[in-house]
């Protein structure tokens, strides 16, 4: 991968630090960050465990120790191809078998709980991570809807199509009960000239603004196109919305009655009811659907029109990059990914081909995101680094769970995992539960009063990860790091981390911190961070008056070290 790791540590040196049985002592990087590195040949080969940690941080919910071992020495492209060939782990089968109350409903929050367990344990990590990324672009939130199965069905649409084609994804999303409830086009009726009633414009507006083309015309590299006056060019007018709103009329639950929902209506594709669909001409984005065109045909033409807009590739590509690797991607990187989206093909540095050549192919697109050559190039030897991604709090939590191989993964027993939305005592974020269709944060967010903001860099994650949420995050993570998160049944030790490897290093705080640095940040902690944590771990008192006290204090020391790394700036960022 890289001849020199980011802090100048010779790559081979870092090789044996993460796994147990590697002889825990020493090996810390003593070379000053910024020392000139040897420029190596850039490939996507993963040479070291720290490189493996970094790649798994980009591409999964966080590297487990066994995955780190498995991927080290492979080419990332080969590993990715193997991930793409794994079958999809769906959520609805588990959810559907849950106990029901007397109204045949599944207990509230069950889908939230199961989703944590799912993303932490599922074997098809890349697919699941892509589905999670898509859930932040084609946003459905259950904040206003307690229907557990409806959300599960929607989750599975994203999981099944995560490595498929974006056009098909748009189709399934449009016909999903969850989206129709959320963006209010369920039972949306054609206009009525007698009462003056007009179709609901909600989905017409948001599918354009958020799910496909965005507000202003883009170049392939994601920068705005400008007109002769140097102004940005808006992609649609209000008249386009009025025209497109006519398309999304007439949809309701499957069955034979527009007004009735069958019991399993929440897990079936919506149905078109022709008598409620607008027969008028529909004009939008330069397309005219003739009067009298059927509802399903109108939707097909509309989605084709939207999907074929040149904005879709850069608009979606830039956001995908932000979800995986870079909060503020360069135009060149966006263009590489958008080109893969446009052509449906991507060729890795080792020659491996991705995609089937169809526009909108998500395997080609995601491969371009994760195998972008610039990610594997040596970082600049000196100066401030402005690339990289601030990791959303959800990913920081799942990474802890996977890195320490938590056992008895049953979020149903974890009181803190029911609802993690609060920034006072939670993560300030919960999957599929954003406050609005605008997600937890905006792709264009620039944080006021920050160095990155002053440099005009977009960092969406700073919208929820900031001074106001720092203490809530710290306390949430501390509870889990110390294995003291509140349980429903206290005798049931769920989400229990395995710190055996770490306890074996407790006598050598420097080795312990080096190990945690490698395992959790890919060896990117600054010397100052590590020195402080080493000092703190050395200060925690280890009583020697009884073996029990000694063991308890040693555990405290390890847990303190873990909690501090989880709250270090290096853990929050991957670069």
């Amino acid at each position: 991968m890289r001849a020199i790791s980011k802090h100048g540590v010779a790559a081979t040196f870092a090789a044996c630090l993460i796994l147990s049985g590697c002889g825990g002592g020493g090996g810390e990087g003593s070379i000053v960050p910024g020392a000139a590195g040897v420029v190596g040949t850039s490939t996507s080969k993963i040479d070291t465990e720290t490189d493996a940690v970094q790649f798994l941080t980009w591409s999964s919910f966080g590297g487990s120790k066994s995955e780190i071992a498995a991927i080290t020495g492979q080419d990332a492209a080969d590993w990715l191809a193997a991930e793409f060939s794994k079958s999809a782990t769906l959520t609805l089968p588990t959810l559907a078998s849950q106990p029901r109350d007397m109204n045949a409903n599944i207990e509230s929050n069950r889908v939230d709980e199961l989703y944590w367990d799912h993303i932490i344990t599922a074997d098809d990590q890349v697919r699941q991570r892509m589905a999670f990324a898509l859930s932040q672009i084609v946003v459905y939130s259950d904040a206003a809807n307690n229907d557990q199965l409806m959300r599960g069905y929607y989750q599975d649409i994203l999981i099944r199509n995560a490595l498929g084609n974006y056009r098909e994804l748009l189709d399934e999303v449009t016909y999903s009960p969850a989206m129709a409830e959320w963006l209010t086009y369920l039972r949306n009726r054609k206009g009525d000239p007698n009462t003056g009633r007009m179709p609901d414009e909600n989905y017409a507006r948001e599918i354009l603004q958020l799910f496909s083309i965005g507000l202003v015309e883009l170049n392939l590299d994601g920068t705005p196109r400008l007109n002769a006056q140097g102004q940005q060019i808006e992609t649609y007018t209000n008249d386009d919305i009025i025209g497109l709103a006519r398309v999304f009329t007439g949809l309701s639950y499957a069955g034979d009655d527009f007004w009735r929902r069958p019991d399993d209506g929440d897990i079936q594709q919506l149905q078109m009811y022709p008598e409620h669909h607008s027969e008028l001409e529909k004009v939008f984005l330069g397309t005219t659907i003739p009067a009298g065109t059927s509802g399903n045909e109108s939707i097909r033409i509309a989605l084709d029109t939207i999907f074929n807009h040149p904005n879709v590739a850069p608009f979606i590509s830039r956001q995908l990059i932000q979800r995986f690797t870079q909060s503020n991607p360069t135009p060149a990187y966006v263009q590489n990914v958008a080109t893969a989206f446009e052509t449906g093909r991507f060729t890795a540095q080792n020659g491996r081909e991705f995609g089937n050549g169809t526009r909108g192919d998500l395997q080609a697109t995601l491969a371009a995101v994760l195998l972008e050559p610039s990610l594997f190039a040596d970082p600049p030897a000196n100066g401030t680094v402005t690339t990289g991604k601030v990791r959303e709090p959800i990913l920081r939590f799942t990474h802890w769970a996977r890195a320490f191989g938590v056992s008895n993964v049953d979020a149903g027993n974890e009181r803190d995992l029911d609802d993690t939305r609060s920034s006072d005592d939670g993560l300030g974020q919960q999957p599929f539960s954003s406050p609005s269709v605008f997600n937890f944060y905006r792709p264009g967010f620039i944080a006021p009063g920050t160095n990155s903001g002053n440099a005009d860099l977009t960092v969406p994650e700073f919208q929820i990860s900031n001074e106001g949420s720092a203490v809530g995050y710290l306390n949430f993570m501390t509870d889990f790091a110390f294995d003291r998160s509140p349980k429903r049944d206290n005798d049931n030790r769920t989400y229990q981390p395995n710190y055996a490897d770490e306890l074996s290093l407790v006598g050598d705080p420097q080795a312990l911190v080096d190990h945690l640095d490698n395992l959790l940040t890919g060896g990117r902690m600054s010397a100052a961070e590590k020195a402080d944590i080493v000092d703190i771990v050395s200060t925690v008192e280890i009583r020697t008056n009884s073996p029990e006290n000694t063991a308890a204090d040693q555990e405290d020391a390890v847990q303190t070290a873990v909690a501090l790394v989880l709250n270090s700036p290096s853990y929050a960022v991957v670069w």
């Binding site: 910024g34 206003a144 209010t184 009462t195 003056g196 009633r197 007009m198 609901d200 414009e201 909600n202 507006r205 603004q209 507000l215 808006e234 209000n238 008249d239 100066g383 401030t384 680094v385 402005t386 991604k389 006072d424 406050p435 605008f438 264009g444 944080a447 006021p448 009063g449 920050t450 960092v459 919208q463 929820i464 990860s465 001074e467 106001g468 949420s469 720092a470 203490v471 809530g472 306390n475 501390t478 509870d479 110390f482 003291r484 600054s526 961070e529 402080d532 944590i533 000092d535 200060t539 925690v540 008192e541 009583r543 405290d556 303190t560 501090l564 700036p569 929050a572 960022v573 670069w575």
Partner: protein, 477 residues
């Protein structure tokens, strides 16, 4: 745990530490042209109603002819309210008529609020609340004719939620990073050397642009003091001297401003965590002086946030502030669907929250020194979609406070004649007749900002003849 641990945390900080942390003021207002009046204490409280509140379902026409006109334009929506039934909240007989002191400004027209806003109606009648009609973002006064012939200079990305939220808060689309609440406080901080910048701008929920200034950033308050357990909870590591020493070092680690990180993002995270730890401690110290209100607040989101605001105002002297800008937000106003069953609950919470806040401020004698005002993405279409309404532009807003010249309707509340020049070509979207900047300037004038400071904070204000709408009872500067 809380008290014990807090003292542990704060040991060595004391008042001296508190005062010294105020030493990092920005350049003081040496330029005499800019000198906000920062005497006494004043606070502004913005309630942002996310989604776009439907003005036409908030301030309703009450005279029979105007009411009938709206009911006809909105026959679908009024149908879902079952408005002809005796018990319907939208039956004219059940609306709460507003007895305007300036009724003469509106000819024979009359106005009313729905029952769900009853506490606000009471405040209106007692003179504690005013309504400003048809407010929205404008670059300059704008007419339908100018829009139709393409000569109007319009705010960008009208009808888009995030961009219009941003425009209301900052006069630019998403991505602008200074809001007018923050800009107002920048001016205050520049003029008041003793003002503690950290607690100048306070948010209770989301991190939005409204409070972002050049020197001022928002501090977030919640319902409880949130201390970092990693060092504040002694039970975590234990009670030995070594554990105490470790805790001190943990605190120092989390409060550290610089780790020589090369990543600009890591630098920002270092800084935000450090500020969170230090500012939370400062706030917690001040909060040790807090005493509870006799006034009870409700449990809805608006009431809880306004309670946090009230509690913060109550300890203002320990926060070293003479001016404060607060920002709370609440969602659910994007009523495309099922409006008849949702907006009532939203109105209930809004009215109960503001009413309790008034009571709490009366309790501590500060009601004359605060102004509470609403803001929202946009108004909504006057023509409905059957059971809801879609994105519009101008909307009606509330301002409340002891200093507010209440029981009056400012600006305009146009008739529901959706083909008239009051509306855009389609769907009955109101063209604003009062700009957000005029609305803001009226409060800014009362807040103590002078003409130059208002012009700096409100870039298009000079395009409008009326700089002060009069609802704060302050003579125009």
């Amino acid at each position: 745990m809380a008290n014990l641990s807090r003292r542990h945390v704060l040991k060595g900080l004391g008042t001296a530490g508190f005062a010294s942390s105020l030493g990092t003021m920005t350049s003081l207002g040496l330029n005499n042209a800019w000198a906000a009046d920062t005497g006494g204490y004043k606070a502004m409280v913005c309630i942002f109603l996310k989604g776009g509140m439907d003005g036409a379902d908030t301030i309703l026409p009450y005279d029979q002819a105007s009411y009938n006109q709206l009911a006809s334009v909105r026959s679908g929506l009024f149908g879902t309210y079952d408005s002809t039934s005796a018990t319907s909240t939208r039956n004219r007989a059940n609306l709460l008529q507003m007895n305007l002191d300036n009724a003469g400004d509106f000819g024979g027209r009359q106005f009313a609020m729905p029952q769900e806003l009853s506490p606000l109606h009471t405040m209106f009648e007692s003179g504690d609340l005013a309504v400003v009609g048809n407010v929205g973002p404008l670059i300059e006064p704008t007419t339908r004719a100018q829009m139709d012939n393409g000569s109007a200079i319009l705010p960008k990305r009208l009808f888009s939620h995030n961009d219009q939220q941003s425009t209301w808060m900052s006069f630019g689309v998403e991505g602008v990073n200074r809001g007018w609440g923050g800009r107002f406080m920048d001016r205050v901080v520049a003029s008041a050397p003793n003002q503690n910048q950290v607690f100048s701008a306070i948010a209770t929920s989301s991190n939005d642009v409204f409070l972002a200034g050049e020197t001022v950033n928002q501090f977030k308050v919640g319902s409880e003091i949130n201390e970092p357990n990693l060092f504040a909870n002694r039970g975590l590591l234990g009670y030995t001297n070594g554990d105490d020493a470790a805790r001190d070092k943990i605190r120092a680690f989390l409060a550290k401003n610089d780790f020589n990180s090369r990543s600009i993002f890591e630098q920002d995270i270092t800084s935000s965590t450090a500020k969170a730890v230090a500012n939370t401690e400062q706030f917690a110290t001040a909060q040790e002086n807090a005493t509870p209100f006799a006034t009870a607040f409700g449990n809805d989101s608006v009431s809880r946030q306004l309670q946090n605001v009230a509690e913060t105002i109550k300890i203002r002297q320990f926060l070293n502030v003479s001016r404060q800008m607060f920002y709370i937000s609440t969602g659910g106003y994007d009523t495309h669907d099922n409006q008849a069953n949702t907006i009532g609950g939203l109105h209930n919470a809004l009215a109960a929250g503001i009413s309790s806040f008034r009571d709490a401020m009366m309790e501590i004698g500060e009601w004359n020194n605060v102004v509470v005002f609403t803001a929202s993405d946009f108004g909504r279409t006057t023509i409905d979609n059957g059971n809801g309404t879609d994105h519009g532009w101008g909307g009606h807003h509330f301002v409340a406070g002891g200093a507010v010249q209440g029981k009056r309707l400012y600006g305009e509340v146009p008739l529901a004649d959706v083909n008239s020049a009051s509306y855009t070509q389609s769907r009955g979207r109101l063209i604003p007749t009062t700009s957000v900047e005029q609305y803001a300037a009226t409060m800014g004038n009362w807040f103590g900002l002078d003409t130059g400071e208002l012009n700096t904070s409100l870039p298009n204000l000079n395009n409008f003849n009326t700089r002060d709408l009069g609802f704060m009872g302050v003579p125009t500067t």
